[in-house]
C-alpha cells in the first residue's frame, strides 16, 4: 500500500542564541525517514531529547524541515495549509492545555466542524458533535456536551481532544505522548480507543512514546530514535525480542518488566550499573554514531562515520556498524 504520510530524510536544526549573544545550532532531528500507511500504527520510541516530538511537529508542519521533504498522499507538502491539517491532526500530551478553557465541549468540537467542513446548519452540527462524543465513548452524550473542560477528568478531556481531531476527518493522527499525563488505570482505555479508530476508519497513527511496553501493545511497527537520529525500526515483536542496535537493547533492558524472572531481576539491579553516561548534547553531537560514547561495542569506525542503514529480511533495519555486513544490503 502507498504511504499516506511520509518523511524523507528530514532534518531540523534550531538556531539558539545564548545569553552572551553567540549563536549555536541544535541538531534536533537528523535524516529521519518514516512512512505511515493507512490503517497502520507506527510507534516512535525514544527518551527525552531524542527528537521524537520535533519529528511529530515536522510531520504536522508546525516547523518547516531544514532539509528533506514531507509527503502527503505521495505529493510534497507545501506549507501548513488548512487542507494539510484536514488530513493530518496532532494530539498533544497535555489535555489540560489543548482545549479552550472558556468554552464548552460543544463549542470546542463545533469549531473544528465549522472551520474544516463549513457545517453551518445548527441541527446538523449538533448531530455531528453528538456522534463524535459517542465515538470516543463520552456517553451519555448529554452529560458531557455542555461541560467546560475543567469539569472533566484528564481522561475525559483527552477524549474530547481526540474527538476534535476526528471532527476534521483526518487520514493521519499524530499522538505525542497522548496517554502519559493520564492516570494509569485509564491509559489502556485510551490505547484501545486509538486502536479502534484505526480499525474502523483506517486511520494511520504515529504513536510517540517513551514507554516501549505501551508501544508494543498498540503499534505494528516500532521506530527507535536516539539523539535526533533513527537507530532502528521494524515489526514490533522482532525489534523487542531481537534488538539489533545496542541502544535499543539498553532501552528494552532498562524498561520495567515485572514478568522478568527473579534471577534476571537480581542481576539487572544488582549489576554494577557503571557509568553508562547520558544522551549527548545536540548542539555538538558526537561524530560518527551518536551512541558511540555510551556503546559497549564501539569500534574506531563508530567514532568517525555515521553508520549506514542495514536491512534484514524480516523488515527490521538498523543504523549500526556491528551489522554492516549482515542483512540484505
Amino acid at each position: 500500500m502507498a504511504p499516506v504520510l511520509e518523511a524523507r530524510d528530514v532534518s531540523k536544526h534550531f538556531t539558539v542564541r545564548s545569553a552572551v549573544g553567540s549563536t549555536s545550532v541544535v541538531r534536533a532531528v537528523e535524516d529521519a525517514t518514516v512512512a505511515l500507511e493507512p490503517g497502520e500504527i507506527v510507534a516512535l520510541v525514544g527518551e527525552s531529547g531524542s527528537g521524537k516530538t520535533t519529528l511529530a511537529r515536522l510531520l504536522a508542519r508546525f516547523y518547516e524541515p531544514t532539509t528533506g521533504e514531507i509527503r502527503l498522499d505521495g505529493a510534497p507538502a507545501n506549507g501548513a495549509t488548512r487542507a494539510y491539517h484536514r488530513d493530518v491532526q496532532l494530539i498533544f500530551q497535555d489535555p489540560f492545555g489543548s482545549l479552550n478553557p472558556l468554552h464548552r465541549v460543544r463549542y470546542n468540537l463545533e469549531r473544528a466542524l465549522r472551520l474544516h467542513h463549513g457545517v453551518r446548519d445548527k441541527a446538523e452540527r449538533n448531530r455531528r458533535v453528538e456522534e463524535l462524543l459517542e465515538r470516543v465513548s463520552l456517553t451519555p452524550v448529554e452529560q458531557f456536551i455542555d461541560k467546560f473542560p475543567h469539569e472533566l477528568s484528564g481522561g475525559q478531556r483527552q477524549r474530547v481532544v481526540i474527538a476534535r481531531a476526528l471532527a476534521v476527518e483526518p487520514k493521519v493522527l499524530l499522538g505525542d505522548e497522548p496517554i502519559s499525563m493520564l492516570d494509569v488505570s485509564i491509559r489502556l482505555e485510551m490505547l484501545n480507543l486509538l486502536n479502534r479508530l484505526r480499525t474502523e476508519d483506517g486511520l494511520a497513527l504515529l504513536y510517540i512514546t517513551h514507554d516501549i511496553a505501551s508501544a508494543r501493545y498498540l503499534c505494528d511497527r516500532i521506530v527507535v530514535m536516539y539523539a535526533g537520529r533513527m537507530v532502528e525500526g521494524g515489526p514490533k515483536e522482532d525489534v523487542i525480542a531481537n534488538p539489533r542496535h545496542p541502544y535499543t537493547r539498553l532501552l528494552i533492558e532498562s524498561s520495567p518488566d515485572p514478568a522478568r524472572a527473579v534471577d534476571d531481576r537480581a542481576e539487572l539491579f544488582g549489576a554494577e550499573a557503571g557509568e553508562l553516561g547520558e544522551p549527548p548534547s545536540l548542539i555538538d553531537p558526537p561524530a560518527g554514531c551518536r551512541f558511540h560514547p555510551r556503546c559497549p561495542f564501539a569500534m574506531d569506525v563508530c567514532r568517525t562515520e555515521a553508520p549506514p542503514r542495514t536491512e534484514f529480511p524480516n523488515g527490521q533495519w538498523t543504523h549500526c556498524w556491528l551489522h554492516e555486513d549482515e542483512g540484505e544490503g
Binding site: E47, G155, D183, I186, E189, I240, P256, P258
Partner: protein, 343 residues
C-alpha cells in the same frame, strides 16, 4: 485496625525482622471549610530495617499526603488527625511517636534518622549553592565537630557513591544533568546515614535508562548501608520489580498490601488486579487489556461503602454500604468484601 503483618514467610525479604517504623491508624485531613477532606484514612503498615516498601496509587489516592505525613513535612490545611508513627531507634531504645514530636526534637531526627528524596531534584537542591556546599551544610549541622575540610571530603565521597565524579561537588545544580542532579539528591538524603529514606517518585522525571541506573545504585547502597525505603510512585510495574512489599492505595486507604511477587502473581483486590493489568507486558504474550473503567473518586465526595465499588467489575449488594477492612487473606492484607470474614 489490626497491625499489618509481613507477607508470605517464604520470601526472605518479608521474614519478620527488626521494625524501623510502625504506622498505626494514620488519618490525614485537609481542613478546608466545613467538611474536611480525608486524604489518608486509617493507614497502617510496618516497615522493617533495610526493607523497600512500595506505595502505588493514582492521583488522589493519598500517596503524596502519606509522604508528607510520614516525614512531618505537611503544611496546613493538612493535619494528621489521628494515628501514630512509631519510630524504633537503632539502639533498641523505646519507640518514638513522630506525630507528637516538637519541631526541635524532629530536627534532631531529620537526616540522621529520616530523610526524603523528592521527585524534582531541581526543586530539592538550592539553586544558588554549590552542590558540595549543600552536603557540607547538612553534614555540619548534624555533626558540629566535623570541620569544613573533612565535610567537603565526605561530600565528594558521597557523590562518588552514586557515580557522580568528585569534581562535580564544586558545580551548581543547573550545571548538572537531570540524572546527575537526582543522584546527587539521593546521596544528599543518605549523607547522615538515616534508617529510613522516603522517596517520592524519585525517577519519574528521568528517562528509563537513567531510572534503571539510579535504582541499581539505590539497591546497592541499601545493601551496604542498610536503610529502609518507602518508595512512592504511580508506576506499579516498576515497584513490582524493585520493592520487597507493595501497598496499593485507593481513595486514601491501603486496599492491599503484600510481597511484590504475590501482588504480581495473585492480586486479590479487584483494584490491584486492574492496576496490574493497566501495564501492558514488555515480553509476555499480548492480550487485550482494558484498564479500569471510570476515574479515581473525588475525595471531597467519596463513594459510600467500599470507595472502589463504582469502578469495580465484581461488586455485589452491600459493597456500596459497608466499608471493607484490611484483613489477612492468604498472606496478603486485603480490604475487599469478596473475601468474607472467616474465609
Amino acid at each position: 485496625m489490626t497491625e499489618t503483618l509481613p507477607g508470605t514467610a517464604t520470601d526472605p525479604a518479608a521474614a519478620p525482622r527488626d521494625v524501623v517504623l510502625d504506622v498505626r491508624g494514620l488519618d490525614v485531613e485537609y481542613a478546608t471549610g466545613d467538611d474536611p477532606v480525608r486524604a489518608c484514612v486509617d493507614v497502617s503498615f510496618t516497615l522493617h530495617r533495610g526493607e523497600i516498601l512500595g506505595v502505588a496509587g493514582e492521583s488522589g489516592s493519598g500517596k503524596s499526603t502519606l509522604i508528607t505525613a510520614l516525614t512531618r513535612l505537611q503544611r496546613p490545611p493538612a493535619v494528621t488527625s489521628a494515628g501514630q508513627l512509631l519510630y524504633h531507634p537503632r539502639d533498641g531504645g523505646p519507640p518514638v511517636d513522630l506525630v507528637t514530636l516538637s519541631g526541635r526534637e524532629l530536627r534532631r531526627l531529620r537526616w540522621t534518622t529520616l530523610s526524603i528524596v523528592l521527585q524534582s531534584a531541581m526543586d530539592a537542591l538550592n539553586p544558588v549553592m554549590r552542590v558540595g556546599a549543600q552536603f557540607v551544610d547538612a553534614l555540619r549541622t548534624h555533626d558540629r565537630r566535623l570541620d569544613k575540610g573533612a565535610a567537603w571530603e565526605r561530600a565528594a565521597e558521597l557523590l562518588g557513591m552514586v557515580g557522580v565524579s568528585a569534581d562535580r561537588a564544586r558545580a551548581y545544580p543547573h550545571e548538572l544533568s537531570g540524572g546527575m542532579r537526582q543522584r546527587a539528591s539521593i546521596a544528599l538524603a543518605l549523607a547522615c546515614r538515616p534508617d529510613l529514606v522516603v522517596m517520592d517518585e524519585p525517577t519519574t522525571a528521568v528517562d528509563v535508562v537513567m531510572q534503571r541506573q539510579i535504582l541499581a545504585q539505590v539497591l546497592r547502597l541499601r545493601r551496604e548501608l542498610g536503610f529502609a525505603v518507602v518508595f512512592v510512585t504511580h508506576d506499579l510495574s516498576l515497584l513490582l520489580e524493585l520493592a520487597d512489599r507493595v501497598a496499593i492505595m485507593y481513595a486514601g486507604r491501603i486496599v492491599e498490601l503484600g510481597t511484590s511477587a504475590s501482588l504480581y502473581a495473585e492480586p486479590r483486590h479487584p483494584y490491584t488486579r486492574g492496576l496490574r493489568d493497566s501495564f501492558p507486558p514488555l515480553r509476555a504474550p499480548l492480550r487485550r487489556l482494558t484498564g479500569i473503567t471510570g476515574s479515581p473518586p473525588d475525595l471531597r465526595r467519596p463513594p459510600s461503602g467500599c470507595p472502589f465499588h463504582p469502578r469495580c467489575g465484581q461488586r455485589f449488594d452491600g459493597c456500596d454500604e459497608r466499608l471493607p477492612v484490611l484483613r489477612d487473606i492468604g498472606g496478603n492484607d486485603v480490604a475487599c468484601h469478596l473475601y468474607p470474614e472467616g474465609s
